[in-house]
């Protein structure tokens, strides 16, 4: 969220510029990235382990919708997580509703395929689980800058090389899409017809995917030299400009959530959950 326009006086001196590590707009945004990641992960896994309908529904209400309102991102959350979950949800509904083996309670029938009650039950269960997972992940994504999480993990001891790969991947994905677009233009300018039928489009895969991969790999050599020219290969930890704030109470929350998750899984395995 770099701010354009004139630099304020605060950064006229030599300290850390104010546009780095700027706290988020709401309390939930300002939570430590690892805390928000723990909330998302435990919600997703617990939804799977709990199974059924009530479990995931409660989780969504407490750990997804609640914080989303607090963070003021509810509208985006609903739109994005539904978009995210739609393909899986439709498949889950179709596959389970109509193909539930040994289902007796017939709801309705389309030709040979029978929609059964058990099928509907299982389909709804999977739907609830999927909504919980996509909701939790979307909440995390909407309230946390990816690089903040990577910096936080690096401060806690994660290798600086793994941090590099994570951060670089976030920038490489959109760059690769842009590259693929330029390549598609260049190949179409050389007569490759991408507006024909499926077969014709399949013929276009190698001329488009090829340069994306070859071009990117050919750049690896110059990129790695440029990094080594700036001391990248130096073993050991590196200095961080800043790191997100963390508080003891959040550490307690994280361990508490993990403990609860382990308890739920243990209950599930030992079969004592419904």
């Amino acid at each position: 969220m770099a701010r354009s326009g004139r630099l304020s006086e605060a950064t006229a001196g030599r300290g850390l510029p104010d546009f780095l590590g700027r706290p988020g707009p709401t309390a939930y945004h300002r939570l430590n990235p690892l805390t928000k990641a723990t909330i998302a992960t435990t919600t997703a896994i617990a939804a799977v382990a709990l199974g059924g309908l009530i479990g995931p529904a409660v989780l969504v209400a407490v750990a997804v919708v609640g914080p989303a309102i607090a963070a003021g991102v509810l509208r985006d959350l609903v739109r994005t997580s539904v978009l995210l979950a739609l393909p899986i949800a439709i498949s889950a509904l179709l596959v389970n509703l109509f193909f539930f083996p040994g289902g007796e309670g017939e709801l309705f029938r389309i030709g040979p395929i029978v929609a059964t009650e058990e099928g509907l039950g299982l389909a709804l269960e999977i739907l609830a689980r999927i909504m919980a997972i996509s909701g939790a992940v979307t909440l995390f994504y909407l309230t946390t800058r990816p690089s903040d999480l990577v910096i936080d993990l690096e401060r806690r001891g994660m290798g600086s090389r793994v941090a590099f790969v994570a951060n670089a991947s976030v920038q490489t994905v959109p760059a690769m899409v842009e590259r693929a677009g330029q390549i598609t233009d260049a190949q179409r300018a050389r007569g490759l017809d991408t507006e024909g039928g499926v077969l014709r489009r399949l013929r276009g895969i190698v001329p488009i995917v090829g340069p994306v991969i070859l071009g990117s790999i050919a750049e690896v050599e110059e990129r790695s030299m440029a990094l080594e020219a700036r001391g990248f290969a130096r073993p050991g930890r590196r200095t961080l400009l800043w790191a997100p704030a963390d508080r003891r109470v959040e550490a307690l929350i994280r361990w508490g959530l993990l403990a609860a998750l382990v308890a739920v899984i243990a209950l599930r395995i030992s079969g004592r959950l419904p």
Binding site: F99, P101, I113, L122, I133, Y141, V173, S224
Partner: protein
């Protein structure tokens, strides 16, 4: 050195044992009277995968304790490999997302980058590329590329990276062009036998897992018969593809590419089935879902339907992916690939760099 391997093997055995006995298919709990959970057998692949990762963690911990460094591991991470990984991760995600949404065909093509890094740099970088791909794909990559399901399958990507690493190290992806007809025919026969054996073993394993009860129900149902023919057709297709590659391109490596792809595909299917079944009820929104529906229509439950789907689509996906990676390796200039840790093993014999002295010397450091 030996201590590390012993510690790692021990860790593997413990985790695998505990997993099989107690864990099984964690949705159904342990069956009385049988020392392991029959219905959970289908998740033994997942348990082994977790055991492999635990073994690696123990190996690294012991090495760190002994030498205060991870040199045997970090050696595989030179700057070039680290810079390649984000490119590989982006290739997985951009191609994976494009294929999954655009073509709706029963393959994913989302492990090209993982296999490429494995082949070029080794098992550990390959595993890390796969692992980070799936985590970033869920937690960090914004829609329309985000995939909520990817993180759950991280363990599968780790195993694919490791397998690709060993396949690359074994030199399977080294081009062997214009071979004499005689050796092509010999290798064609060997490979067809290997493909048939692997397919039959996969079939036997599948029948053993889904258990005798399900087989009567399945056999009587036309859908199951259709799936059987589909599986056979795909195996035949693989063999035909292999023969075309061998004799049209006279490149023996085609045999290794196909076998490597099948091997990785089957292992990936066995590991991913329990995850797909238990976490997502067997569906991922990709083109493979209609296979699951067919298996379910044939009367199999979620876990076995997902395994069936995996055993059909994963091998084909991985053979295609290995072939695409092989084409990339061929198209890469010598300079680009020779510099990677396992680069020398991907280069045609005789292309390696000549070295004579009279004052010339390599990097001292």
């Amino acid at each position: 050195m030996i201590v590390r391997w012993i510690a790692a093997l021990l860790a593997f055995a413990i985790v695998a044992g505990v997993g099989l006995v107690g864990f099984g298919n964690f949705l159904t709990g342990v069956d009385e009277g049988v020392f392991y959970d029959i219905e959970g057998a289908n998740s033994f692949g997942l348990v082994f995968a977790v055991a492999v990762v635990m073994a690696f963690v123990v190996y690294a911990a012991v090495e760190y304790a002994q030498t205060r460094s991870l040199s045997s591991i970090t050696r595989q991470f030179d700057t070039r490999t680290i810079v390649l990984m984000p490119v590989a991760i982006a290739i997985n995600i951009v191609l994976g997302a494009a294929v999954a949404s655009a073509l709706k065909i029963p393959i994913y093509l989302d492990s090209i980058g993982t296999i490429l890094v494995g082949a070029l740099a080794g098992p550990i970088p390959g595993a890390l590329t796969g692992f980070l791909t799936n985590l970033l794909w869920t937690y960090v990559v914004p829609p329309p590329f985000n995939s909520g399901a990817a993180a759950a399958f991280a363990i599968v990507a780790v195993v694919i990276g490791i397998l690709a690493g060993f396949i690359g190290r074994a030199g399977w992806l080294r081009p062997r062009p214009n071979q004499p007809m005689r050796s092509l025919v010999v290798w064609a026969i060997i490979t067809v036998v290997v493909i048939a054996a692997m397919s039959y073993l996969a079939y036997l394993g599948y029948i053993a897992i889904i258990g005798p009860v399900a087989i009567e129900v399945a056999n009587s149902n036309p859908a199951f018969v259709v799936l059987g023919y589909l599986a056979l057709a795909l195996v035949a297709g693989t063999v035909l593809g292999l023969l075309y590659l061998l004799f049209a391109r006279r490149d023996l490596t085609a045999a290794f590419v196909v076998v490597g792809g099948l091997l990785t595909g089957i292992i990936a299917a066995v590991i991913s089935a329990p995850i797909a079944a238990n976490v997502f009820g067997g569906v991922t929104g990709a083109g493979t879902d209609f296979l699951v529906a067919a298996f379910r229509q044939a009367g199999l439950d979620v876990a076995n339907a997902t395994l069936g789907q995996g055993l059909i689509s994963d091998p084909i996906d991985k053979v295609t992916t290995f072939f695409v990676v092989y084409l990339i390796i061929i198209a890469l200039p010598m300079r680009a690939k020779a510099r990677f840790p396992q680069g020398e093993r991907l280069v045609e014999r005789g292309e390696a760099s000549p070295t004579d002295d009279d004052g010339w010397r390599g990097a001292a450091v």
